[in-house]
Amino acid sequence: MKSKLKKTLFYLFFILISCEKDDICIESEIGTPRIILSFYDKIDKNLKKPVENLLIKGLEKEDTLDIFSGDSIAIPLRNDSNFSKYEFILNAGGENSNNDTIHIFYSRYDSYINRACGFKSNFILNNPPTALLNKDNAWINEIVKLKDTVLNEDYSHLAIYH
């Protein structure tokens, strides 16, 4: 009787602790979407016009987000604030370097994904969605909203004409 009891308890204990499942947020879940910017020609507005060596960094931040060449880029929006400030520096470090500072304005709402991942943020872009802080010598000509909401990373949300 005594050994039978001990044995039963021993097994029960291991059944019990082995039932604890790990909660890990799977990698395929994109979570909070980034905003996607596409670069277009300021004259022929349907023509994509790639940028070269564009340095992107948050205003007043030390570290660079990216140095980028291409026609579309995804950048993260702050999920603890209703605006994000970025510097877009064309030909960074070169002689004809050109720094444009952009504010992106939006409102946020968070939606529940699941237990492991928790919540993600979604963004609704303001009207107008951006403000260009430096009026003089800007390399960016115009920014136009293509989508009102940032819910995923499947489409471009803003068009930047330059």
Binding site: M1, R78, N79, N114
Partner: protein, 244 residues
């Protein structure tokens, strides 16, 4: 850490000494029983508490408070009507969400004893089931927005419409029970049971989920199974219905 060790010592002491006690009692009661074998039908009411919940409350301090009353009543040989009533308040830090669940629950069901006792003994190795129902509320204390890109190094979210208490929640589940009850000293029993829970339905907060259900335990995604245990001490009141 120290308190954990003390509790472990108490648990072990009770468990293993109980096994010894129960053997001693076997012999005594066996000899007594030979006098009054005919009339001894062991109908009884047992009631007591789950010891594990105050122990865990003591170890986890602010993160857990729980209490459970248990009872059973034998009405046909080897068949027991069983009940558990409890309250729980638990704060959980999951990967990204910190939340507190509090509420009470009621479990009703039957246990079937499969252990053949000596005459007059009432030890059990049993299987059973329960229907459980909880009434609880859930509060999100704070959460980290899930993002793969941490360029801005945002703070945890502590203030918005998701933060706060959601009440009027319920869970309903079926519980499969396997356990033992052993007599330690006259009329006192120690019990341990392991439970596998299958959620039937639940009322969850709007645009959110029940992450923990009092009595049911942790609720995982896309999986309606949960598990639990209790470790009880109960006092038995014998009732002799058939004197003649």
């Amino acid at each position: 850490m120290k308190i954990t060790h003390i509790w472990l010592f108490i648990i072990n002491y009770l468990l293993f000494s109980s096994a010894l006690f129960s053997q001693k009692n076997n012999q005594n009661e066996d000899s007594i029983d030979s006098i009054s074998v005919k009339n001894n039908k062991a109908y009884s009411i047992r009631f007591g508490i789950d010891l594990s919940k105050p122990i865990i409350s003591n170890i986890k301090k602010d993160d857990y408070q729980g209490f459970e009353l248990v009872g059973d009543l034998s009405f046909i040989k080897d068949l027991y009507a069983a009940v558990e009533i409890g309250t729980e308040k638990r704060t959980t830090q999951s990967e990204n969400i910190n939340f507190t669940t509090s509420g009470s629950y009621l479990k009703l069901g039957f246990d079937y004893n499969m252990y053949e006792n000596w005459k007059g003994m009432n030890n059990n190795i049993y299987l059973g089931f329960r229907l459980g129902n909880s009434f609880h509320k859930q509060t999100i204390n704070e959460y980290d927005v899930y993002s793969k890109h941490h360029y801005w190094q945002e703070e945890s979210t502590r203030e918005n419409y998701e933060i706060g208490e959601k009440s009027g929640l319920q869970g309903r589940w079926l519980e499969f029970v396997a356990g033992i009850k052993v007599k330690i000293i006259s009329n006192f029993y120690l019990g341990f049971s392991f439970r596998l829970n299958r959620l039937i339905n639940h009322i969850s907060p709007k645009k959110f989920d029940n992450l923990y259900i009092p009595g049911f335990n942790k609720k995982t995604d896309e999986n309606n199974w949960g598990a639990g245990f209790n470790y009880t001490i109960t006092y038995s009141i014998p009732i002799n219905l058939s004197k003649n």
